[in-house]
């Protein structure tokens, strides 16, 4: 079975080598047969790579420890359902996953691009083939997941215990796919530049579509990563500005800037160069993320695939960046904007400011992430930059971003007068003042937190105001309220889908603000039968039980949780020791509601029956997890077009003079 996978991998290497050459040749020579040959060859890649993937997963399922990667990442005690997680838990498998997933996604994109941009598509296929060629070459020559061992061990080493969690079935796949998917809008952009077709905004719709999809995948990966860290790592937080986390955040920031900025190009023909720069930056940062993930020099708490391969990724990143800049400079003259920025009080001006802020946050994060390398090189001491630096620098910038997010969509394209601005900001400002008053009444005094909530209120106020006025206007036509609202939302899906996404971002920001400023933490030593109180909560330690599994020894504590004298729930935090890995993993017990989370995690069980626990009360964390599905819905909604809108499109007839003179 493994042999089939190997042959499939070798074949895919030959095919992708062919498509990467013939794709460009087909575009350059305008050869339809060459372009089609490259395209059809490209379509075979997902099948070949899926076959390789299936052989590896099958090896995990049947515990074929003759395969080195299987022996290193699983054992007989591992539940077979985790074969999927084990598949990408190591360096080689994760690379295979990336190659297979990217081949599927890029094949779909080539299929669509061939219809929408038939003369640019061969170049885009060429760029995507080069990306895939790199991954398949690394798999074949440096990190082959199907490599066999000369002596077959009786049992494997086992999967990293931290990966035994439901979240691992979805978080890494989304995160890795998100990072590599940036290559698709990047390929469209570079293909546009190579083919010299940037001056007429041909690529904008496809750039936006694939940019949004990539952004969505990155966002899901980030939220799931935070959720996984919160529920399994047992430290009570969800974001630590760890290098691996930052490496996922940086391309997300650049892509967020891109998906906004591309709208300006679509509507106004502005920011042509800027959008190219953004997508090149995003792809460079995505590659940097892969470099850090794969054993880069930056220390990380949870870089799960350590190797020295990172330097290969860094080299490829440098070459890609250099070539992109060369192509960009070479085609500079085709990227001049069609119009000019007419007023600082306009949607495009706010988008530009927002873009600058996104990039500023990305570069601050980059500096904080790579600073240890510089300190080690020049000072010979390893210094890491901790959470306070990121929070203090990025926190206010993010607040400013949310403020701009609130007012940007309210402004019209091109120009608005100060009168219009005041008119549209009245209600959001009133709501903001109201929220500040409520905060003060509740006894909240931390100025940055209040400022954060007020900013969120401005953003939310703008959305409520727009929905209310739009619905009211339709109700006056005689429609029922709920129908008016649905029709309003349906009338302009990109716009209202964007608002739904903004609501989810506001929820995320509220959750982050509340949990960062008003979390309570306490370490308690408790004997069996003892009770302790923190805030409204009272918790009683009922005892601990020990269970021995083939791969771990697990100690589970049992607690009763009460609020204001009422019984709420039993909690079971546990601590497990994995002898094979010499690793202790704790898992907190969480009682969650919309207002706050009660989070209990065992630190140490002593022999005299006492135990040390860390207790946290984290306000509004659940808002962050709820924001995820809303965000997904909003993004997908904004990408769809309503049937009524399609019907209303006023099509241009093809003028005889133009139809006849093909030279134009």
């Amino acid at each position: 079975m493994v042999e089939i996978g190997q042959i499939s991998l070798i074949t895919s290497f030959i095919v992708v080598l062919y498509t990467s050459i013939v794709g460009f040749a087909g575009g350059g020579l305008n050869g339809r047969d060459l372009a089609q040959s490259a395209r059809w060859g490209f379509y075979s890649l997902p099948i070949l790579l899926i076959v390789t993937t299936i052989t590896l997963i099958y090896s995990f399922v049947i515990n074929d420890f003759s395969v080195k990667y299987v022996a290193e990442n699983s054992n007989l005690a591992m539940p077979s359902a985790y074969a999927w997680v084990a598949f990408y838990s190591g360096n080689e498998g994760s690379l295979l996953y990336i190659a297979a997933a990217f081949s599927i996604m890029s094949s779909v994109s080539v299929l669509i691009l061939n219809k929408k941009l038939p003369y640019t598509a061969p170049y885009a296929l060429g760029v995507m083939s080069l990306v895939l060629l790199f991954f398949i070459a690394v798999l074949l020559f440096m990190a082959n997941p199907l490599e066999k061992l000369p002596i077959v061990p009786a049992d494997g080493k086992g999967i990293n215990p931290l990966l035994i969690h439901f979240g691992m079935f979805i978080h890494p796949p989304f995160q890795m796919l998100g990072l590599i998917s940036v290559a698709i809008p990047f390929s469209v952009c570079i293909a546009t530049l190579i083919s010299g077709r940037g001056s007429r905004d041909e690529w904008v719709d496809q750039g936006r579509l694939w940019g949004m999809i990539s952004w969505l995948l990155l966002t899901i990966g980030l939220i799931l990563g935070g959720w996984w860290a919160y529920t399994i790592l047992g430290w009570g937080g969800y974001w630590a500005w760890d290098p691996v986390e930052n490496s996922a955040l940086m391309p997300w920031l650049a892509m967020t800037a891109f998906v906004h900025s591309i709208m300006v190009q679509k509507r106004r023909g502005l920011f042509r160069m800027w959008n190219m720069i953004l997508i090149i930056t995003a792809f460079t940062m995505a590659q940097l993320g892969m470099f850090i993930n794969r054993g880069g020099p930056v220390p990380s708490v949870h870089s799960f695939a350590e190797s020295t391969m990172g330097w290969v990724f860094l080299g490829v990143m440098a070459v890609t960046l250099f070539l992109s800049i060369v192509i960009f400079v070479f085609r500079f003259d085709t990227l001049k904007s069609r119009g000019v920025l007419e007023s600082p009080i306009s949607r495009e001006a706010v988008f530009l400011s927002q873009n600058a802020l996104f990039l500023l946050i990305a570069f601050v994060t980059l500096w904080g992430t790579i600073f240890p390398i510089f300190s080690e090189t020049f000072d010979e001491t390893t210094m890491t930059i901790g959470q306070p630096f990121f929070n203090k620098v990025n926190g206010p910038l993010m607040l400013l971003l949310i403020f701009l997010m609130g007012i940007g969509p309210l402004l019209p394209w091109r120009k608005a007068s100060l009168n219009s601005l005041f008119k549209m900001l009245t209600f959001p400002l009133i709501l903001s003042i109201l929220i500040v008053s409520v905060c003060l009444l509740l006894g909240l005094t931390k100025i940055w937190a209040i400022f954060g909530f007020a900013t969120c209120a401005i953003a939310l106020g703008g959305i409520i105001q727009e929905w209310f006025r739009g619905t009211k206007s339709r109700v006056k036509r005689g429609d029922k309220i709920h129908l008016s609202f649905i029709r309003l939302i349906n009338s302009n899906r990109p716009r209202y889908g964007g608002y739904i996404v903004h609501i989810s971002i506001i929820m995320l920001a509220m959750g982050i603000t509340a949990s960062s400023f008003y979390d309570v933490q306490k370490d308690v030593v408790m004997a069996v039968g003892e009770s302790q109180s923190i805030g409204d909560y009272t918790f009683k330690y009922l005892g601990v039980s020990q269970e021995v599994f083939p791969d771990r020894i697990e100690e589970t504590a049992k607690f009763e949780l009460w609020t204001n004298g009422k019984f709420v729930d039993y909690l079971y935090p546990y601590r497990a020791f994995y002898p094979e890995f010499r690793l202790s993993a704790t898992r907190g017990a969480i009682h969650s509601n919309l207002i706050r989370d009660f989070y209990l995690v065992p630190s140490d069980f002593k022999e005299d029956g006492q135990a040390l626990f860390r207790v946290l009360i984290n306000p509004m964390v659940s808002w962050m997890w709820i924001s995820g599905p809303i965000l997904i819905f909003g993004t997908i909604f904004s990408l769809t077009v309503s049937s009524s809108r399609r019907r209303k499109k006023i099509k241009l007839p093809i003028a005889n003079s133009i139809f006849e003179s093909r030279s134009l």
Partner: protein
């Protein structure tokens, strides 16, 4: 069995790659429109102008636009649409039909925003 599957895996992409190179293209085969052609560009600019008009009406409907801003924006988008028609060098009758369609589209949105829809229906 392994040999057969491996052979199939090798042959499958080979056939896909070779087929377009050896097949004969007929003269009547569909040639897609160049996405960079002037017409495609004008079509995008036309869509953008119409979208701009719709958006302007929507902004006004929800009360985000002052009257002066509204008039200015509306004129800008109408001017852009007119430029596209001019560049297309259409016959006058075709231009008139299109302008009428645009006017109807704008009027429909104006009706909604000015709450006259019901009155019209009653009349």
């Amino acid at each position: 069995m392994v040999v057969l599957i491996s052979l199939a895996l090798c042959l499958f992409p080979f056939v896909l790659i070779i087929f377009p190179l050896i097949r004969k293209y007929s003269a009547s085969e569909f040639i897609p429109q160049d996405e960079s052609s002037l017409f495609a560009d004008l079509e995008r600019r036309w869509d953008s102008a119409i979208e701009g008009l719709r958006s302007t009406e929507l902004e006004r409907m929800v009360g985000n636009l002052h009257d002066q801003d509204y008039e200015w924006l509306k004129n800008i988008h109408l001017f852009e649409a007119a430029l596209v028609l001019r560049a297309l060098d259409l016959q006058e009758s075709e231009q008139n039909v299109l302008i009428e369609e645009v006017k109807m589209e704008v009027f429909r949105t104006v009706l909604i925003s000015q709450e006259k829809y019901n009155l019209e229906e009653k009349e």
